[in-house]
């Protein structure tokens, strides 16, 4: 992530005007427990480091490590809640938040996290993940049912239009919940949710895609047959990789693909048990009772129309 020099200066000043060098190091260690200011700056341990010097070194290090946004989030939490029972008001933090907003990040006060402003930029790493970062994530796998038959039956322009519409529906549902579309293959998609209420976002995005397709198939579908999908939602640890194909090696992503392929009926979303526990009851009630299918504990959501 590229940080403007004015933001760097502002962050340095905020740090040395608000907290001591010792506390700066403690806050950095909340992100990187191995952080050693003396080692990083090359100053021997028996030499004192001034607040200004510490702030300069730390800001540079967190930028080099790609942790700038995480560090500002840490400072926001410390500023609001204190640290180990003591308050640490940080002067000028609001100014940094505003500056980051101008740089294309939205600050969500509910989760105290920064999100890439999707109106300006949508990058698969949310503008803040680095190759190799491990995070807890919720993932959504979507598969177009009978994709090959649809392609054979329909003219290319119609199939392109329908798939572009489907992609727009998926994009809208995923991006609106701070998710990212990591892969879009011929017959399906993979979306990830890492920030905010990720499990809830994955479930709601899947429900919305099915709801939207219900109307799309009746009102706008240019094909002779309805576009039908299977969706699976799952949660677990993910190691972020810049290469999309490397992402597929993650165990969580392999599992979600298995749930979709072997346990999900057509026009249905399945949610794995570990994801489902994080969802509020008001949404849980819209799912069928839990079933043991293909070795997975699954709950299903589908649109069941009342019998006439």
């Amino acid at each position: 992530m590229k940080v403007k020099s004015s933001t760097i200066s502002l962050c340095r000043r905020t740090l040395y005007e608000s907290i001591s060098a010792d506390m700066m190091v403690r806050f950095v260690r909340l992100l990187d427990p191995e952080y050693d200011l003396h080692a990083r700056s090359g100053i021997p341990e028996n030499y004192p480091i001034t607040n200004q010097m510490a702030a300069t070194r730390i800001v540079q290090d967190i930028i080099d490590d790609g942790r700038f946004i995480d560090f500002i989030e840490t400072l926001v939490r410390v500023d609001a809640d204190g640290y180990m029972g003591r308050p640490y008001p940080i002067k000028g933090l609001n100014q940094i938040v505003k500056t980051l907003s101008l740089d294309g990040f939205l600050f969500d006060r509910a989760t105290r996290q920064f999100f890439e402003n999707a109106k300006e930029r949508v990058s698969p790493d949310w503008g803040r993940l680095r190759d190799g970062d491990e995070r807890q994530a919720a993932v959504l796998r979507l598969d177009i049912v009978e994709n090959s038959a649809l392609v054979k039956r329909s003219s290319s322009d119609r199939i392109e239009r329908a798939y572009a519409d489907l992609r727009a529906i998926v994009n809208r549902s995923v991006h609106a919940r701070y998710g990212r579309l990591w892969l879009w293959e011929g017959d399906g998609a993979l979306a990830a949710f890492i920030f905010g209420q990720k499990e809830r976002s994955a479930i709601l995005a899947g429900m919305e895609i099915l709801n939207e397709l219900f109307f799309y198939n009746r009102l706008d579908n240019p094909l002779d047959a309805p576009l039908r999908v299977r969706i699976a939602a799952h949660a677990g640890p993910i190691v972020y990789r810049d290469q999309p194909m490397e992402l597929l090696k993650n165990e969580t992503i392999r599992e979600v693909a298995q749930i979709e392929a072997r346990s999900t009926p057509t026009d249905t979303m399945s949610a794995s048990a570990n994801l489902f526990l994080s969802i509020d009851r008001v949404i849980q009630e819209r799912f069928d009772p839990e079933r043991q299918t293909g070795g997975d504990k699954i709950r299903y959501y589908s649109i069941n129309l009342e019998k006439s």
């Binding site: 709601l204 429900m207 919305e208 709801n211 219900f214 109307f215 009746r218 009102l219 509020d280 008001v282 949404i283 009630e285 819209r286 069928d288 649109i303 069941n304 129309l305 009342e306 019998k307 006439s308």
Partner: protein, 330 residues
């Protein structure tokens, strides 16, 4: 007053021109640009039109002349059921016998009296007569915006009733300030969902709202789609957009009719059968998680692909109803 005669040829009943005075002869293709003024009488001669053209031109004259008097001339008796033209809103039918026996001034007087009666009975009572209710859905003219709608004038509208409810009283559950915030969010979100139907929040009580929707085919179609989307998406809508930690239900009802327009907040003196009906329909008859539609809403505004979602719902206060099937029932 002008009399317009739309036909492929100039064949008219004997005595027609002398009985009506000057008659303007026009081709049927001129119907698409026809703009009659109050008091004008327009006739469509369907001779020489095949079945499809006849249907299209009859719909066109109904659309263009819905607010004035119009009639159908059928010199060869092509229509199997002439009464249909009256059901469509016509005020006169010139059949084969009229073309042989001719038209006199007495008949002309009777037609004028009937046209006046018909337009007055059309629930409009306005200086500018409104189209009959049966023409509601076919009025495809663009809506000029709510600024051009004048208070005190009677217009045809779609009326949309929306009520939000939960298993327990929302105000009790949310508290006074929470309820006010909820209402503000709900109002904004519903307005956004109905945006493509050009809605106007017209009346509001604690738990219900009446929206006015312009009487055009486009807005009628869009409001039906928006309501069905709202009902299907209620769990997401309530939980995510309204921030409610408990389930909520929406009751939607739709009616078409005419009423005097008044700006929102100044509707206390409105006396209208249509407004009474939509309130009664929404409060007494419509069920949660369904869109209930009265028979005054032209069925043609329901997209054909969505008609399977609706079933007959009986009769209420003399009007037959249909409502949408519920989503989520197993």
């Amino acid at each position: 007053m002008s009399v317009f005669w739309f036909a492929l040829d100039n064949q008219m009943p004997p005595g027609f021109e002398s009985a009506y005075g000057t008659v303007v002869h026009l081709d049927t293709t001129d119907l698409k640009n026809h703009k009659p003024t109050p008091g004008d009488f327009s006739y469509l001669n369907i001779a020489g039109l095949d079945g499809n053209e006849r249907r299209k031109t009859m719909l066109a004259i109904r659309r263009r002349c819905g607010q004035t008097a119009w009639g159908v001339a059928d010199p060869q008796g092509d229509l199997d059921d002439p009464a249909m033209v009256f059901f469509m809103g016509a005020c006169d039918y010139l059949g084969p016998k009229v073309f042989t026996q001719g038209v006199d001034k007495a008949r002309t007087r009777d037609v004028r009296a009937y046209a006046l009666f018909r337009l007055e009975c059309d629930d409009t009572r306005a200086s500018v007569p409104a189209p009959s209710s049966s023409s509601a859905g076919a009025d495809a003219e663009a809506f000029g915006g709510w600024k051009v709608v004048k208070p005190g004038v009677i217009y045809p509208f779609y009326f949309l009733f929306i009520a939000a409810s939960a298993q327990m009283n929302l105000k009790t559950r949310l508290g006074e300030s929470g309820y006010i915030a909820f209402r503000d969010r709900l109002r904004a979100q519903i307005q956004q969902m109905l945006a493509e139907a050009d809605p106007l929040l017209w009346m509001e009580t604690d738990t219900t709202a009446i929206y006015l929707i312009p009487s055009t085919a486009r807005t009628g179609r869009n409001v039906i789609i928006a309501c069905l989307r709202l009902i299907l998406g209620t769990p997401i809508f309530g939980y995510e957009r309204l921030g409610l930690p408990f389930p909520i239900e929406f009751t939607c009802a739709m009616h078409h009719g005419s009423t005097e327009f008044a700006v929102p907040g100044k509707t206390g003196t409105i006396v209208s059968d249509a407004v009474n009906f939509i309130f009664h329909l929404g409060a007494k008859c419509a069920q949660p998680e369904r869109l209930t539609i009265s028979s005054d809403v032209d069925r043609s505004v329901i997209p054909p692909s969505l008609r399977e979602l609706f079933v007959d719902a009986g009769v209420f206060e003399g009007r037959s109803l249909m409502h949408s099937r519920r989503f989520g029932a197993i």
